[in-house]
Symmetry: C2
Subunit: 341 residues, 2 copies
DNA sequence: TTATAGGATGGTAGCGATACCAAGAGAATG
DNA sequence: CATTCTCTTGGTATCGCTACCATCCTATAA
């Protein structure tokens, strides 16, 4: 190939070329492509023919610059890997696509500084909207968002002071509800395993919810019943074993995050601990896995795809002209009682 | 609907504003931002100060149009939900990001027609490169790619006639190797459960691999030992039960796709079928889950993140000027023998 | 028939950056 | 001291499209 990396290939057909070959003005081509109804049948046919003949692809970059309008939404998630986010991303992607928008995705790895850099980068790309799976932001981010005025959806938690629109559930309420549920089932010594609390308001809220429920149940708040563990099968297993060693009377354990519960369940199978006979296990988030494991696992169903869908819908509506009003949607959650408790 | 959706907010600072406030020309600002080394220390400081003062964010859309260069890579996966792809996506995203590129993602839902529409849309956005998790394309797609000359990575299979660059493993070889492995372990009646074959060359290749291995093993090729199932726990369970009902002598089953094996394993636990005593179970793709299940599950390790990483690296190199040559990387696979076989 | 509205077209001027070339200022050379 | 070279800086012309306004034509009303 050539010296300079060229990426527009040989076929560099532009609108004016199509116009010339169709015997119309560039404006007519532009209109025929974007608002066909404003163009006469005859013109439209001429344009369509030329477009097809040359395989013309309008340059959306130029279009965006000229119209000051973009059709790309930016999304920042803590981790793309995590299947919970994946569900949400898929839902967002689907809604955007059916409305002619595209999705630019980035992952912050749970770091606030990274979020800052990514928000800047996405805004520099002039995305027309943002979805942030995170509700605690640096001042920089808040300023940027305020200054540019892009519509923003926050997700993953229900913040006290939202940037703009929010679609989420309450981590506090969810954790409290599950803990209370365990109490109602008669469990008295309930362990709590959480994802790392640092830089993660969601984990923090869940922990508060756990303690709030204990209080309501009239159970002692024993900090040594709380363990912090990075998400993962092995970590869940490990956490359960440690809890049982230090608290032989443990009769239930609530794993507030990602596959921890399943790891623990497998460990019980390995050690021959009956679930829920020896220890009951409850999880957070309705992974498919939990419904099929043996025994099936009690969990909190968070409607991740609904979150994605509604986020995208709100964004699209706003972009299509809906008034700029604060919206706060609590999608709620549901306790799914299964065999493990 | 308000009159005009504006998305550039109040703060609409452009390079010329920064230039004026810094007392330099726009070109100097542009250079100070992109190639600071070509600008004198003094100028750079003036520019930086002004940039910070106004919180200026360069407009990459304008930049791209002007330079005919974009820093966005397009990615099309069959499903964002699927955690296998998620691993790859994350790896791609990471590499791109450290090189200053962004990722636009779309999912085709396994439909070729959708791929076509998405490729067009991404090319209209003037992405500087494409990653396609699919190696069978419509003529339209092949033409588009050829005409625009964008660098393309294909992934997910090793095609006979690649579009451009390929990073993958051989589904045929992988399935053959696993089937042969089961044969070597002494299993004689080996079932095969595959994902839907329609529009999916990867599944098709796996099936061929299975039959090729049977032949090498001198085992009869019995089509009734092959079942097609959509991915999922329940589907895997169901498939195994049906196979065992129709073939009581079944001593092993190879699940060539997505969580099918785990679903089957759970079913065995429910029915009290010993694994591998009653039936051995082998899977495809090294989901974390398989390493932790009880029993642990024999599987094929496909280096999904390596695929993502190397894809992105190839793309970045090409974009940074590497010569345009066909590259075909076979990342291989590995049989992971565990307790289930 | 003339006036007038309204829909369909086209011309022109940007959008906000970068490429390319010209020019000025020093530094280095003979 | 003149001359050449290099390093910075700035001016100008796009990039490919769309907004906006002017124009033209046809249809309807008076």
């Amino acid at each position: 190939m050539s010296d300079k990396p060229r990426r527009d290939g040989g076929a560099d057909i532009k609108m004016s070329d199509i116009a010339r070959h169709a015997g119309v003005s560039p404006m007519t081509v532009s209109r025929a492509l974007r608002e066909p109804s404003t163009v006469s049948e005859k013109m439209r046919r001429k344009v369509d023919a030329a477009v097809r003949e040359f395989g013309y692809l309008p340059n959306r970059i130029a279009g965006s610059l000229s119209s000051k309008r973009s059709n790309v939404v930016g999304l920042i998630v803590p981790s793309i890997r995590n299947s919970l986010y994946a569900n949400m991303v898929q839902a967002i992607s689907d809604v955007l696509r059916t409305n002619g928008f595209h999705l630019m995705i980035a992952n912050s790895g749970h770091h606030l500084e990274d979020e800052e850099a990514l928000v800047s980068a996405l805004l520099a790309q002039r995305v027309c909207g943002l979805v942030l799976h995170n509700t605690t932001h640096s001042k920089q981010v808040r300023d940027l968002v305020a200054k540019t005025g892009v519509p923003v959806i926050e997700t993953g938690n229900l913040p006290a002071e939202p940037l703009d629109m929010v679609v989420s559930y309450s981590n506090f309420e969810a954790a409290r509800a599950m803990t209370a549920h365990l109490g109602r089932l008669g469990y008295r010594k309930i362990g709590f395993v959480t994802l790392p609390l640092r830089d993660n308001d969601r984990s923090e809220e869940r922990r508060h919810g756990y303690f709030a429920a204990l209080k309501e149940l009239g159970l002692p708040a024993d900090p040594s019943l709380v363990l912090e563990a990075p998400g993962g099968f092995a970590e869940g297993a490990d956490a359960l074993v440690r809890l049982i060693q230090t608290h032989p009377g443990l009769d239930a354990c609530f794993f507030a995050g990602d596959v921890l519960a399943v790891g623990a369940l497998f460990e019980c199978q390995r050690r021959g601990w009956a679930v829920p006979g020896r220890v009951a296990i409850a999880s957070f988030d309705d992974l498919d896995l939990l419904r099929h494991a043996v025994p099936t696992v009690t969990t909190l169903r968070i409607p991740r795809d609904e979150i994605g869908r509604r986020s995208a819908e709100l964004l699209v509506n706003r972009l299509l002209g809906a008034p700029s009003e604060r919206v706060r949607i609590d999608v709620g959650f549901e306790i799914v009682q299964r065999e493990s408790t």
